[in-house]
Symmetry: C2
Subunit: 435 residues, 2 copies
Amino acid sequence: MPRTGGAGADDQRSGLSRRGLLGLVGTGVGAGVLGLGAGIGADRAVSARTAGGSGAAASYPFFGRHQSGIVTTAQDRLHFAAFDVADGTTRAELIELLQDWSYAASRLTAGLDVSPTGATGGPLAAPPDDTGEALGLPAAGLTVTIGFGPSLFTGTSGVDRFGLASRRPAALIDLPHFPGDQLIEAASGGDLCIQACSDDPQVAVHAIRNLSRIAFGRASLRWSQLGFGRTSSTTRDQTTPRNLFGFKDGTANVKAEDTRAVDEGVWATADDGAPWMAGGSYLVARKIRMTIETWDRASLAEQQTVFGRDKGEGAPLSGGSEFTEPDFTAAAATGGPAIAPDSHVALAHPQNNAGATLLRRGYNFVDGNDELGRLNAGLFFICFNRDSRRQFVPIQQALARSDRMNEYVKHVGSAIFAVPPGASPDGWVGDTLFA
Amino acid sequence: MPRTGGAGADDQRSGLSRRGLLGLVGTGVGAGVLGLGAGIGADRAVSARTAGGSGAAASYPFFGRHQSGIVTTAQDRLHFAAFDVADGTTRAELIELLQDWSYAASRLTAGLDVSPTGATGGPLAAPPDDTGEALGLPAAGLTVTIGFGPSLFTGTSGVDRFGLASRRPAALIDLPHFPGDQLIEAASGGDLCIQACSDDPQVAVHAIRNLSRIAFGRASLRWSQLGFGRTSSTTRDQTTPRNLFGFKDGTANVKAEDTRAVDEGVWATADDGAPWMAGGSYLVARKIRMTIETWDRASLAEQQTVFGRDKGEGAPLSGGSEFTEPDFTAAAATGGPAIAPDSHVALAHPQNNAGATLLRRGYNFVDGNDELGRLNAGLFFICFNRDSRRQFVPIQQALARSDRMNEYVKHVGSAIFAVPPGASPDGWVGDTLFA
């Protein structure tokens, strides 16, 4: 059911803080026009208009044990944003920002405007609360997933800005430098992140834009990335999509139905060292530029050797079909292993990484072209794991050292975030950290 | 019906030129592997698998009186590319490029790979003809629309590179400098353009990537732009979408059903001065960055005054509903005109532009953010008109001089292209120019 311009009947009381409202109006005009609910309690428990499912009408709950956007059926489009907290922001103001984001996200994911008066229901003399470009659009499967970067805990100059240093999870490491990394500072790091996924890019962009706006004066965009097409399936009912190398990606991805693998490899527990992260996960983002013009000149044989799979079906070169387990001991007809030991599938496979798995949730991107006419394109890799020290880092170290694919990729952006558990309807995302 | 990796049964003979194949293989390995059809005749007349309609399964014909992608029901996503012809390219090679593009586009728009062997049907020792990321995807309403920039006719240094100077249509003007223009050279101009529209961005990106690849050595990308959401309707069955100002856009757009307006305002005729353009049109592209953070701080009243319409319904401020004709003589309750004479709707309206109309076909874009954390976002404006001297230019001059919206927009890219008529199945796009 599309959202409408007026006040939502289900939510007459505003949950945006005074600061959030000041952010919206900018000039200060109109502040206090809406009811300034000090807390953001039960009035936020907006029920999704349509439950679960897929397609444009899907709606996923914002509140719950885990944040949505992790094991949620991977949506088609992405707008990802990393933020830095503004200088001088206090701990109380940071908390208020997370409360405001939670309130707004709970509405947006239900297909509503950011506040009851929304895009058109407020006074003519004030800026609208909502920017309006999603008016008439359904929730479109929107999920908003919030994370905390290492610098939130230590500050950029080592100052414990928010009294959080002792709360930093050991698993929230500073990612090491990997061989071949050519990181751009402006596409890396961040105090906070928001991953907005939706089946409609206008809905994802609307979410990031409005959450950025609500953060005005407290946090600002550090970098952001649009992804136009998913490169992973996260549930068994999804067909495996293709990356810009033209290969199926994510065939062996951890799926939501693999509850044991999800429990072991995705969700942090209270015993992992940071009890406030129980039910949360760790997100690693890597912006991987593909030199697709070089790739496109490689022979089909070379391309398939790099992946260790065939291009058409995605079957391992050891035989079978897409979902056949690769056999790393199988020999090729011409002698030697059917799957090269330095192929992508061999190096990334759990069997060769002490069982380590990743829940991948990446997206294809194209950011125009460079001055030589080459598409600035690639994979915006996102994964969730329980402990990057045992999962992402060793896998990426193996890949960075030896992967045949390295000839065709360049890692230009990198970030890691602790994604706290989901909140209850009378809480907010991050409340366990500040408790 | 999704494409498959193997050879298309309906098209066993390749229509790509030797140069096109050389472009594909890059190193020269594999050239001559496919049959090198000298002509690109009836074997190209691929019939669309599904005719017309909308949604992911839609397929539009590539051949016909007009090129598709103009009055075609506006698809959801865009990848637009401008190319420069490589130094030293001959007239014959330019013709061959257009033949190769037409051949490949006729296949892509039918949901096929660029050649019969495609992404996986060729020899293992050669690079695949098709890059493969659209394997398994339907045509998804793809249209490929090809245009010629002024510099194709004169060359960048005034040299008549291809013997086309005398064939340049008078209507293919060099666009004037408009007040406020802050054009970036790297986002403006171009010898050639391809507009790829589809309901699936992966399909549009696949088309531009593969057509760029086929052009290798003959033309290279000058600039390119992804658009994630349409901002115009071009047929009456479409709901009016919203731009990133949050307003409905294109309510008064020329629609395909307005056959008289289309005939008068879109299609060039043999009597217009360039008979080879009969059935073609002129495309103007303008990359318009919106300073959305400033806009978002403007009051609802200011926003509505700028547009001359209300934000919720898109009704003119003179009253009625979305499709009510604006009444520029109506008075506001508070005195003065209900619709400000310098509002966008007033300045752009045909009534105030000697009846001039535009068929708009623009898209919302977000290209990340700038170093101050502001989204680099806006409207990639595209319009088609019969003669920009009577249509786009006077309208844009009125807007550039007086539009209240100018406070919130910055034109950073600009280009104009002559879009020739559609080709017959035994011809190619542009054949009337070189006849």
